[in-house]
Each structure stands twice: as C-alpha cells, then as structure tokens.
C-alpha cells in the first residue's frame, strides 16, 4: 500500500464515511435506536394495551422479573435446549458428512437428502413431526408407543421432543458446514498420516478433527445462536397457552409472548430481551476465549 499524503488521507476518510452513511443511517434507525430504547422501556411498567400511559418504576421491574420462578424456569429450559441441540446436531452432522465425503457413484443424491432440511421451512418440519408424534393419528401410537401424557404434552418430554425436531432442522446446515470443512482438508496431511501407519480411527481423531476444528468452532457458534433463537417449532407444536406448563418456555419464546401474544407487556419483554442479549454475549465471548484457543488453523 502506498503512503497517502495527509490531504489525500482525509479525503479518503470522507469518501469512506460517505459510502458508509446509508448503512449507518439504516442501522441507527432500525438497530441502535431500538436497542437503546429497549433499555429505557425496561425501566417502565407498561400498560397492558397500547395507547395507555406507562409508569416509571426503575430497576424494580427488572429485579422482580429476573427473580421470578417463570424466568428461572425459562432459563433452565433454554440451557437444556441448547445443550441438547448443539452437540447432537454437530455430531450427527459430522457423522453424515464423513459418510457422504466419499467418491462413490450417486453420492450426490445422499448429499442432497442430508442437506435438505436447510431448505425445509420450520413450519412444515414442525407439522410433519407433530403429526408423527400425535397420540391419536400419529406414527408413534401406530408403533405402540403411547406414553401418557403424550410426548408433546408432558412437562418432562416436550422439551426433548422439540429439541429433536430442532436437531433435525439444524442437521442440514451442520452437514453442509462439516462437509465443506472435510472437503477443504489438504489430502497430503491425511496421506502422510496413513503412510505413517495410523489407522482410520486414529487419523480421524488425531488429524481430521483437529484440522476440522475451525469448522467445528464455527458450527458451535452458529448452532448456539440457532438454538437460542429457536421459535417456530415451539409456537406451532406447543403454543403460548402450554409453553410454560410443559416447560418449553425458552427465553426467546417468553419474549415473544410478552410482546406479541394476547397479553402484551412491553416492559417485561424489554427486561427479558436484555437478559437474552447478555446471555448470548457472554456465551459468545466464552466461546471465543476458550474454544478458539483450541482451534487449529492450518497454514491457510
């Protein structure tokens, strides 16, 4: 890069700012302003219907919501959900990717099938699984599996059932990411390991996985955000009236109910949104701090 004179540098800064301006304006209006406004809303007890006055209550609203049993239940459900979805979704995705990373005739068909959930809408997926799990007309009772209460109506099993659907949905993306990672691995390193006498298992764990670690790390970050933001399956299969009693009221859904349900409470929604923001931020920072250290970026 050539060195610029002070005048030229100033001019290029001005030009850069000009180009950035549209984006900055859009972000300011649709992201930064609402983000800051949200902190303000959290300090107000809002009326149950639009157009009625709000009351300033300071932090008391936040403390009472964050210490409520409903919030703690929601937090527990959220973490359990993430813990179920991310590792299983990535492991299965990796397994499918390894299976499909072969040069056999017709493997393309399997790759399409494995990645198809990426283009399946959440609603369609949820309804298909909902029908399979339906206790009256579903596949499960036909197979003789008929728990009482049914899977999607049980405080114990509803969350794992919804998580299973989320895993299935996430599998497509996880598969594509893993397969892309596998295909980008340099053959010479794998070849060298094999020549050195390492078995398939050893090659996989000692060479493939470490070299795949940037991909896996990427998958963990994306998967965690995906899991935190899961919504459609819960709304379609469980619904607002049942989310809390069946212990599937994950944080995002709790926020949705506070803002878009039949009993909106924007003040509560603001407090919960800030809580979710802090949680995702802490998670991402922790992942960057601890996981990224173990990631091995091969000489690329």
């Amino acid at each position: 890069m050539t060195l610029l004179t002070p005048v030229a540098r100033r001019r290029s800064w001005g030009l850069a700012a000009l180009f950035l301006l549209p984006a900055i304006i859009l972000f300011a209006i649709f992201t930064f302003y609402p983000f800051l406004e949200n902190f303000k809303t959290a300090l107000y007890q809002t009326a149950p219907y639009p157009g009625l006055p709000s009351k300033y209550v300071g932090l008391s609203q936040a403390t009472s919501i964050l210490s409520s049993s409903a919030f703690l239940q929601s937090l527990t459900s959220t973490f359990l959900f993430v813990v179920m979805v991310v590792p299983l979704g990535l492991l299965l995705g990796l397994a499918l990717a390894v299976a499909a990373n072969k040069t056999i005739k017709g493997i393309g068909i399997f790759r399409i099938i494995f990645s198809s959930t990426v283009v399946t809408s959440v609603a369609v997926g949820a309804i298909i699984f909902g029908t399979l799990m339906n206790p009256i007309v579903g596949l499960l009772p036909w197979l003789g599996i008929n728990p009482n209460p049914p899977l999607l109506q049980s405080p114990t099993w509803a969350l794992p059932a919804v998580a299973a659907i989320a895993i299935w949905q996430f599998l497509g993306l996880s598969f594509i990411v893993m397969l892309a990672g596998l295909q980008a691995l340099p053959d010479d390193v794998l070849e060298a390991a094999r020549v050195d006498g390492a078995g398939a298992w050893t090659v996989f764990w000692r060479v493939t996985v470490p070299m795949l670690s940037p991909t896996i790390f990427f998958g963990v970050v994306v998967g965690t955000i995906y899991a935190f933001q899961s919504f459609g399956q819960i709304d379609i299969l469980i619904g607002q009236a049942n989310a809390q009693q069946f212990h599937v009221n994950v944080l995002l859904y709790y926020i949705y109910q506070s803002v878009g349900g039949t009993n909106p409470d924007p003040g509560q929604a603001a407090v919960l949104s800030i809580a979710l923001f802090v949680i995702i931020m802490v998670f991402t920072l922790l992942q960057l701090r601890f996981l990224e250290r173990r990631v091995h970026y091969a000489g690329r």
């Binding site: 339906n134 009256i136 405080p155 009236a241 009693q245 039949t262 909106p264």
Partner: protein, 463 residues
C-alpha cells in the same frame, strides 16, 4: 392508610356475602347510561352509496360457511351497508390483531372478540359499548336469554352484543355406552367417572379430558362459586382470586383420581393437539369427552362422511359438579364489538349488521347450521329450529341448559382483563397435579395465589 387496609377485607367479604345471595336484578340496562357515549345511528340516514365496513371474525369450518351465508344475505337485503368479512384466524389471533391495531390505527368497524377478552377490550378503551346503540335504536332485548346478556355486561353496561354463544356439552359414543351396558347418561362429574370405569372394564376407551379451564370455570358456575372477587369482576375490576374454595378442591380431587387411575387422558385446549379428544372418539381411543357445543356442526359433517362406522354420536348436558347444583352453566363464545375510532357512518353500519345477526331468523339459521345456541327465545320457537331440533336433539342441549338455573354473578362467569394468564395458571395447576404429583388442595391454592398475583399486576399496569 391503616384504616383502609383494615376495612378493605371487611368490605370485600361483605361484598362476597351479598353477591352469593343476590340475583342479578340490579344489572338493568339503564345503569350508567348517563355517561354512555352517543351511538350515531342517524349517520346512515342520508348515505347514497353503501357504507363499506370490515368485520373481523374467527369462525372455522362449518361455522365459517354459515357466517359467510348470513353476511351475503345481509349485503343483498339492503343498499346502505356492505360488510366485508375478514377471517382473522383464531380468537386469539383476532384479539392480538385488534391490540396491534390500537397502535397502527388499522382497526375494523366491527369485530368478533372471544368472551374472555371482554374486560380487556373494555380496559383498552377502544370500543363504543353496544348499550349506546341499543338505547339509541330502542332495540329490545326482552327475548334474549338473560344469562347470555349478563355475560357480556360489565358494571351493568352491555359492552358487546352476544352473537355466537355456546356451552360445553358432553359428547359420547352411544355404541360404546351400549357395549359397556351404560343406560343412564352421566349428569354429574362423579357419574362421568363411574361411566368411565365401566367403559374401561369393558375394554373400551374411557374419558378424554381436554384441559380447557372453561370447563373448570363452568363447574364452579354450576356450583354457584365465584372465580374472583368483586362479583366475578362484574361490579369492579377483580383484584383477587376466590378459587381456593371447597368446590374447586372437590373438582380437582375427582379429576385427579380419574387421570391417575387411567379413566381419563388429557390434551391441551390450544395448539395442534386441541382436537385430540374429539379425534380420539373417532378412533375409539375414547368413548366420551367434554367440548364446546359449537363443534357439533363440524363433528356432524365429519361423522356423516361414513369414515367412522363405530361411532354413533350422543350429546348430553355438561355434567355438573354436584347432584343438586345450586348454580347454572355459564355462557361461552364471543360477542360483537364496535370500534370507538370508526367514523360515525361505519359505527351505525356495524350496529345495523349486528342487529341483523341477532334477529330471530338469523339466530335460528345460525343455530341449526353450527351448533351454537339461539340466544333468543323467539328464535328457538321458529319452525327452522323446532323442526331441526326434533330431528337432531343434540343441537337443543346447550340452549336448554342455558334456560335452566339461576342467573347469579357466579353462574354468569367472570370478567377478567388478564384472562389468558389466569387460564394458564389454572391449566398449569392441573398439570402439576396430573404429572407433577401435587395434591389437589395444594394445586388449587397455588392456582389461586397465581390468579391473585396476575390480577394485582394487571391492575397496577392498567391504571
């Protein structure tokens, strides 16, 4: 301050005492009439082109077909008003859209809003009470069933005009009852349990308990028990639950025993599993259930397809909690509301359409095609209805139960702003008992304290 705190409970208990003996004679049409806003009926007098109004409604399946038929009939019958029917999805979705419309200003002139949101729509200060239009039009409600009118009144003022009114009824499979040797149709919850036992012993499906808090609330109404204070929220905004009474504990105990002994299976009342109790009757998994009478039209059309040869549908009155009920069944369904923000001509147009929908002939047509009850005695006496009921006695059940029993604040049911969360609290307490092992009394008490907490937080927010 100290005085207030001391007196409040005393006054409250006096109020409760009074309410438990009083019959709703004080809820006359004139109460509070002085402060009512004007209903601009004259705005329609000089219109040259039809006034277009949107009507948001939530009718599914067979009920939607009849809703469209009535609207078409109205549009063809006169030239001043044209109604555009807008199906907004479920009741909850219509209500959510109404609330969104309060911000955006996108509100229809007229909407069908579920009963449980009555106090909410009043508190949102977005409606013109239909009482105003009833007064302006000198509309007579003398032929209306009193408990239905009372159900849509708050502080004695008719807030919405009742239109589609139903009660829960007992649906059962006559063939299964015959196989199990049951001759007497259950009229109490205890008899439902006994019948379920016989059915199960005969190797047949037993009882499907849909976890719709409407039924628990109806059981309270049949026992003449209030759900909340301030006369079930009818004479002032409710501020505390009165759910922790012996009737509730008895009801919870019976339901718990049925679920625990496998005589009853549950399904949620909202979401994708809301019809599992009815589907289960079709598949033979269950032989009886409780559901709204409004489903009768749809059920009949499904059964008539011949897909279910093992089902002969029987309909009976909602079983009461005790054998000699002191109360009566409360109404359910929805009412029609007029938007406060709509232009005068549209408000007048909305009222004209409502009056048509509640005419005796419309109510008769509506009842025989849907399973909702005719809300007026003169509609029930029309040949349309009498001949249909003679051939299909199931359709008369909910009307007959609404004619029986006293009209008290308890049998009228509650009016609550946060009805959704209160319903959730009741369902959650039932689930905690069925799957969490909570004792009936503990479950009732926890539901009641949640209800009180929900009401207090709502009241402080609504100001």
């Amino acid at each position: 301050m100290t005085n207030k705190r001391f007196f409040a409970p005393v006054l409250l208990s006096l109020g409760l005492l009074a309410s438990s003996v009083s019959v709703l004679t004080t809820q006359g049409a004139v109460a509070g009439a002085a402060s009512l806003p004007k209903c601009p009926l004259s705005a329609l007098n000089n219109v040259t082109a039809p006034v277009q109004i949107d009507f948001w409604e939530s009718m599914p399946r067979a009920n939607a077909t009849e809703m469209t038929a009535l609207t078409d009939q109205f549009n063809a019958s006169q030239k001043k008003v044209h109604v555009n029917l807008v199906q907004q999805g479920t009741y909850d979705e219509t209500w959510a859209k109404w609330q969104a419309g309060l911000t955006t200003g996108q509100l229809p002139a007229m909407a069908m809003i579920e009963d449980i949101y009555q106090q909410g729509i009043v508190d949102s200060r977005s409606i013109l009470p239909v009482q105003s239009c009833e007064n302006a039009a000198k509309f007579s409600t003398a032929k209306f069933l009193p408990r239905i009118l009372a159900y849509f009144k708050i502080n004695g003022i008719q807030q919405g005009l009742p239109f589609n009114v139903s009660t829960p009824v007992l649906y059962y499979n006559k063939q299964a009852f015959q196989k199990a040797g049951i001759t007497a149709i259950p009229t109490t919850l205890a008899q439902v349990s006994a019948a379920a036992k016989k059915l199960k012993a005969a190797g047949l499906g037993a009882f499907a308990l849909k976890l719709d808090p409407w039924y628990e609330e109806s059981w309270l109404a049949t026992s003449n028990q209030l759900l909340v204070n301030n006369n079930n929220g009818r004479t002032g905004r409710a501020s505390a639950g009165t759910f922790n009474n012996s009737a509730s504990v008895g009801m919870y105990s019976t339901l718990n025993a049925m679920v625990k002994s496998g005589l009853a299976s549950t399904n949620p009342y909202l979401g994708s599993s809301a019809y599992d109790n009815l589907l289960g009757i079709g598949s033979g998994k269950y032989s009886m259930t409780i559901d709204t009478s409004a489903a009768l039209g749809t059920i009949s059309s499904v059964l008539s397809s011949g897909q279910y040869p093992n089902v002969t549908l029987g309909v009976a009155q909602f079983p009461s909690l005790t054998s000699s009920p002191k109360g009566a069944i409360e109404a359910g369904g929805a009412a029609l509301y007029i938007s406060k923000k709509a232009p005068a001509a549209q408000q007048a147009a909305a009222w004209t359409f409502m009056a048509f929908l509640d005419s005796a002939q419309s109510q008769a047509d509506w009842a025989v095609n849907t399973g909702y009850m005719p809300i007026r005695t003169d509609a029930a006496a029309l040949p349309t209805v009498t001949s249909y009921w003679a051939a299909n006695p199931g359709y008369a059940i909910s009307y007959n139960s609404m004619k029986q029993g006293p009209t008290t604040y308890a049998s009228t049911g509650a009016a609550l702003g946060p009805f959704g969360p209160v319903n959730n609290a009741i369902v959650t307490s039932l689930t905690s008992m069925f799957t969490g092992g909570a004792k009936p009394k503990t479950a009732v008490n926890s539901a009641n304290s949640s209800i009180s907490q929900i009401l207090q937080s709502y009241n402080s927010r609504v100001g």
